[in-house]
Symmetry: C2
Subunit: 384 residues, 2 copies
């Protein structure tokens, strides 16, 4: 080996909590394996210098049984290993280990020095409330759909939904730049529609177009959306990358609230002993990547999340993470207007209730259906 400068790292560490599914005899070796796999990825006995062993390799801070063949371990990694970038932070937390069975990332804690490298949510709960001018109840969100409608038809829907008092109107996440509904004309017309409605209602409904798309077009689409009067953005980090969302959130010229959509992220939370916890994925990672609100499938809808898993997401959206703002949980996925009181009760006022198709089910007057939805939520939140 050539001569080398001493590593002299700060000694500061960030921690990840993992659950392990294995027998007691294996647990310590499994925890130790994570320490190596997520850092040096090299046989321990071949690590060329003691300072790498001491300063780079992860360190087991604790290892405790959770029940039969289940353990919880806390691993500490040097902040420098995460290199000041989200992709590498996620890589250290769960890159290679994601491929090994029986390891679940449950939570992570970053010291202020590491958090300082991330702006996180630009608006968060308080900022988004301010933008829509709603203080004391859950915000109400819906999507314009179905795919196959023209920009004019989607704009008409946007107008009628905004007129009914919905706070946030997002593109369905499957609306991209299809030949039958181009991104440009869609955002132009829907942006106009929401402003037309707002000027009639005096409200501040936001239109959030979907800017998930080719890596080299995302920022252009977001700028085009803002130009057209969009009040926020919809983005699917599972499809286009968490860090691409961070770029949108960090852009000072753009300065728009971001609603994160869970498309393509399902396998991460599918099994309890593997993947990433609901709270860490939909809460903590979304937040670190700058989302102001995180859509997820509510319990009892078309999907299969449990009440406990939904609570975990609320926790990830709101638990202390340095100075990072809390963000809104957005339960969705086949929600109905009738469930509004129950959801208000379960999530409290600091949530966004997203109802899609069901708004269209309560009679032909969409605007009237929205008004009923708003009323129901205001009543449930004690404002009725």
């Amino acid at each position: 080996m050539t001569s080398h400068p001493s590593l002299s790292l700060s000694g500061e560490r960030f921690t990840a909590v993992y659950e392990l599914s294995c027998g007691g005899a294996e647990a310590e070796a499994r925890a130790r394996d994570i320490c190596l796999e997520q850092t040096v990825e090299f046989p321990e006995d071949l690590i060329p210098r003691q300072e790498i062993r001491d300063q780079i390799v992860g360190r087991i801070a604790s290892l405790e049984p959770l029940g039969t063949d289940r353990f919880r371990t806390v691993i500490e990694y040097p902040v420098e290993a995460a290199g000041g970038e989200l992709t590498q932070l996620v890589n250290v937390l769960f890159g290679n280990i994601s491929i090994k069975p029986g390891v679940r990332l449950v939570r992570f804690e970053l010291p202020d020095s590491l958090l300082a490298g991330y702006r996180g949510p630009r608006f968060g709960q308080a900022g988004l409330r301010e933008r829509v001018g709603v203080r004391h109840r859950p915000l109400l969100c819906t999507a314009i759909k179905p795919m196959g409608l023209s920009p004019e038809e989607l704009a008409e829907l946007t107008y009628r939904l905004a007129l009914g008092g919905i706070d946030l109107i997002k593109d369905d996440h499957g609306l991209a730049d299809q030949p039958f509904c181009r991104f440009g004309p869609r955002v132009e017309r829907c942006g106009d529609a929401v402003h037309r409605a707002n000027s009639q209602t005096g409200l501040s409904c936001l239109y959030l177009p979907n800017v998930t798309g080719p890596s080299d077009r995302i920022m252009d689409r977001a700028r085009q959306a803002k130009q057209a009067g969009a009040g926020g953005l919809l983005f699917s980090p599972g499809l286009a990358g968490l860090d691409a969302m961070r770029c949108l959130a960090d852009d000072d010229d753009l300065s728009l609230p971001i609603l994160s959509h869970p498309a393509f992220q399902g396998p991460f939370t599918m099994r309890t002993g593997e993947g990433i916890s609901h709270g860490a994925l939909y809460g903590q990672l979304n937040r670190l990547a700058g989302a102001d609100a995180a859509i997820f499938p509510n319990y009892g809808g078309r999907f299969s999340f449990t009440e406990q898993e939904c609570r975990d997401i609320v926790d990830g959206c709101t638990r202390p993470m340095g100075a990072m703002r809390p963000i809104f949980p957005v339960p969705a996925g086949g929600m109905s207007v009738q469930r509004a009181p129950e959801l208000c009760e379960f999530y409290g006022r600091d949530s966004i209730l997203l109802v899609g198709g069901d708004l269209h089910r309560h009679g032909p007057d969409l605007t009237e259906n929205c008004r009923r939805f708003v009323q129901l939520v205001e009543q449930a939140a004690g404002q009725g």
Copy 2:
């Protein structure tokens, strides 16, 4: 509703094959659910126009039992739904459905009209062989590591590995832009080292630095890498997005082979009845996104893929996909030099064998260890 132009889609469809885990009574409803969820995401009875039902909604082409409580269904989607972009194609294939239990994306088939929108691998097997000048045996790959070494030390490793006849030397995927080993100095020195070795050996070893990183820095890093003499790029699409890899592959000025790393993609293939098949994820999707070679954990290493799953990856890397080039499978993950003959037998000559730490285990002379590895593979490939 306002007046609207007719949809008049081409009628061309792409297909996705899914496996369903459910009872026989449910199977058809589950398949139908995919048709709706992945396109209109709207209650069927509320779809506002018949042409949307006919032209946009997915269509069940077949549904067959596979065994007890398992079914295989082929769903056809309109090519226009995928909108000419990879993010939306992936969204239609497995966006929301990824969140529902008991659905696995097994394979997909795109018609030429859709494939025409994707360049795919710029080099593929033949092009990469040409770059390294190796015709009749598997290519040999290794990684420079562990994290914690300085750019100078990594360059020294690169030099010794290249001198020993390794074809492809990649950064360990955990080398990003850490303070103890900055991206710039690393690629400068390692680029120099590989050229120095090549001028001595007359070989064409390639150095492939890791350009996985912040969304807005990836292209800069790739250009910087090329400038420094890198002969290819390492990229983790699970961390930074499949479409970001496509951007790298499509860039004519860059024009560098891309090696895809599986970090953070583990949960997709973890369970047989859910997620995405190994072949579709590591083979087809990597290929569509422009990778020339796909790293995956080989059977019998540190990870848990089976022989059958590895064969499925080979299939996804090489099966006909229009005019798209076949790419190299790169079995890795704790491989040993001694297993080279077995791997040559299993994967045949059209593979890249990636051995990391084990190269360091066979005596202090790394260059000599590499030569032995090359020799072993040449013998196994019938060239000894």
